[in-house]
Symmetry: C2
Subunit: 228 residues, 2 copies
């Protein structure tokens, strides 16, 4: 049975990705990264979703001693909706990236997932990156994943011995509504997912992540079960 | 003053790299990764070297819950000298990579260092990789660093806004003897460095890392101060 590692954050996109990979027949292992994010509920959500999907998981704890992001540093104000896209092409100037950007976050996550995949003998790595209804982070764009896959092929034992690990981003070109429709068909337990950047008892409804989620459900013509 | 992050393991190559970067006029910050390696003395050595060089440092603790390397798993025997080079070109088949290979190790380290550099506003990242007198790890080859730099440019805020972080590998094409001669000129405290893969009181003299080091000092016509 083909094996794959899935990066699971507990949000809508990564949870859908887990179910997409499962539906494709992969034997899965989920990697949950606890990197000191202010929205701690995400980690609890990720664990619940992995258990619900009966997928074994690792929780990896990393404490970055540097800040530089509103998601790590409570002294930086979370933007209500500072979303501006950097565009799909690289090297564009005059771009604006929101304060919630965490320096090199997906690079770190992918490196850890690559290590997990290689040690376990998995040939694929899934990540729920999306470059349509997203916050404008550069590490969510297809060009980045293509470049990362090339580095992974050249820098790993499996890569140089001709069995490179594929980096799979099944949601990257879907709208949020399309992701939600796909996930609903696959019975993703959206009631268990957590998208809000704040770690409160209920989603704030105001942050960029909440707005993208609400827009997705609205456009999909569905009710968000997490808000029921 | 130009700033740079240096990955410091406490071994000969990374310590030389720290001094090379300092001699080039950079204001430095060292990143020491405690990833559960069996040669725990390396971390103590790295801290001592950073203090000696008066370079502030971060020690980052990561526990990979998967094994798959003789450096992480004491049940795997350390090879005495299983060194076989994978060659400088990519994709060669029939290659043999030693049991001390840690899946995606340098990818993880580089991701963390990239994050540190971006958060701190450094424009360069130094790593003491070497592809001449080395153990044959794929993530020590120039092709990997070139590919990583491309991914880093495309996946970071600094990269897409036109101020990409440079990945500097000043030792990559030097022999071990050339590295030692260069470091000796720069007064690298080699007596404090630790190369042995085993964590004993003294270097074993038998493992691949000890052999490469001994060969380097011999060819440089110098005595190893750590063995005095």
């Amino acid at each position: 049975m083909k094996k794959a590692v899935v990066l699971l954050s507990g949000g809508l996109d990564s949870s859908t990705t887990l179910y997409v990979a499962r539906a494709q027949g992969y034997r899965l292992r989920a990697l949950i990264c606890d990197y000191g994010q202010r929205h701690r509920r995400e980690i609890a959500a990720a664990k619940r979703i992995a258990r619900k999907a009966r997928v074994p998981f690792h929780v990896l704890r990393i404490r970055l001693p540097w800040k530089g992001s509103a998601l790590l540093d409570r002294s930086i104000r979370l933007p209500a909706s500072a979303r501006r896209h950097v565009g799909m092409s690289a090297g564009s100037s005059g771009v604006s990236i929101p304060a919630t950007y965490v320096p090199a976050r997906n690079m770190i996550f992918l490196g850890l997932a690559l290590s997990c995949a290689e040690a376990w003998g998995a040939r694929s790595l899934f990540i729920g990156a999306n470059a349509i209804d997203y916050s404008g982070y550069p590490d969510c764009r297809p060009v980045f994943y293509k470049a990362f896959a090339a580095a992974a092929r050249l820098g790993t034992k499996t890569g140089v011995t001709g069995r490179a690990i594929a980096i799979r981003t099944p949601l990257i070109r879907l709208s949020k509504a399309e992701i939600i429709r796909k996930g609903t068909r696959l019975r993703v337990p959206y009631a268990l997912t957590w998208s809000c950047y704040k770690g409160g008892a209920r989603p704030c409804g105001v942050c960029d992540s909440c707005r993208l989620r609400a827009k997705g459900f609205r456009e999909a013509g569905l009710l968000d079960p997490a808000c029921a």
